[in-house]
């Protein structure tokens, strides 16, 4: 079957199987920042945005993306670099495998919650597992990134 989808700003007509999952299709299309982890919708490494909403691409049938806008880590390079810096500064980006999914969740949080509380940050980040660092540093990195963004907007 054919789906029409806008991936990182580019319109694409893709030939997919009806039982293809979106993570597989995106990786096939060269978006290797979409990682495969648990593959059961639990760990969060495959997080992307579909129509500005964070979803798990390993649990979403590719057919569902028909007519939608998909954003992967490759489509948010500039912001991703700033978040990566905040994570790296605190040593919480060790193997780096979870980083693309984590960053996509941070960007979703930034989009939907203005001035999030710590509780709200945790709510939006709890779907991303990191097995080599821990979460305190991540929380600090998120806060610092969001604070920095605020100043940038003000300037």
């Amino acid at each position: 079957m054919k789906i029409n989808v806008k991936i990182n700003g580019k319109e694409k007509a893709l030939e997919i199987a009806p039982d293809d999952y979106l993570s597989e299709v995106l990786r096939r299309e060269g978006h290797l920042g979409v990682k495969k982890g648990c593959d059961t919708g639990s760990c969060g490494v495959c997080t992307i945005h579909v129509d500005d909403t964070a979803v798990l691409s390993c649990g979403m049938l590719a057919a569902k993306a028909d007519g939608k806008t998909v954003t992967t880590i490759e489509g948010v390079q500039e912001k991703a670099e700033r978040i990566r810096y905040e994570l790296g500064k605190r040593g919480v980006d060790q193997c780096g495998y979870c980083a693309p999914g984590t960053i996509m969740s941070i960007l979703y949080l930034e989009k939907v919650v203005k001035d999030p509380t710590e509780e709200e940050i945790n709510r939006y980040m709890k779907g991303n597992y990191c097995r080599c660092s821990g979460y305190v540093g991540q929380l600090e990195a998120v806060k610092s990134y969001l604070e920095g963004q605020k100043h940038e907007v003000c300037e």
Binding site: M1, A17, P18, D19, D39, T40, G41, S42, G44, T47, T53, A54, V55, L56, G59, M60, L61, A63, K64, D66, S105, Y108, R123, Y124, M125, K126, G127, N128
Partner: protein, 267 residues
Amino acid sequence: MITIRTYFFPETLEAAYEKLTERKNNAVIGGGAYLKLGSKAIGTAVDLSKLGLEYINEEETFFEIGAMTTFSKMMLNEGLNKHFTNLFQQSIEDIVGMQLKNMVTVGATIYSRYGFSDFLTALLVTDTKVKLFKAGWVSLEEFLEQGPAERDILEKIRIEKRKGFYNFQELRGSSSDYSIINLALAKEGEEYRVAVGARPTRAKLALNTMEFLQNQELTNENVKKAGDILSGELAFGTNVRGSKEYRQSMAKVLLKKALQEVSKDEN
């Protein structure tokens, strides 16, 4: 493993129903998030996402919620949270992360009657009816008990507004894992509704416990008695997450905690 031969986006519920009933192995796709939990060879997947079934409408006496409404929308809806004292927020909050909550739908969760569901336990203590395309309106309790009489499509649900206090309790091995056992409680006037889920079978109302609690003062003795009735009246089972005995004991604890919340609210 899931295999799908063809994929279909109906434009009307009639077309969806027609396609669903065309062949035995055709199946409705809701959010699709839990598809991987099972193994199925689907002929045609009937996807409801283009039917405009994602909505929460608050009316004077009830909420009407479309089948494709996601858990995140349920969890963050101010009207629902205000009216049901955060019942749905409490029951959805610990379900993995926001990404999954953005995919899981109300309709698919109800129609699938998952035993592990936290949401169904919470919903069961409210006055909820489900609207099936073919069979019409059925009470949630009846639907969970019996399932659909024939293949059908869940279109929407209606939750009546009742003034009361609602609380959800759960026990998990780790945050965001499935519940080992869960419990929801509603107190509307002097009437109680208590449901227990993840037993590990699907949520069920504890009718004897509810009857006992009616008009009772919440003394330590009565709370203990209610717990004993609860653990004796429902069937509990064993699976990888917990034993029957553990669930039986912990159900009492969850009831006690929920009743403590009732007392706090009243004081």
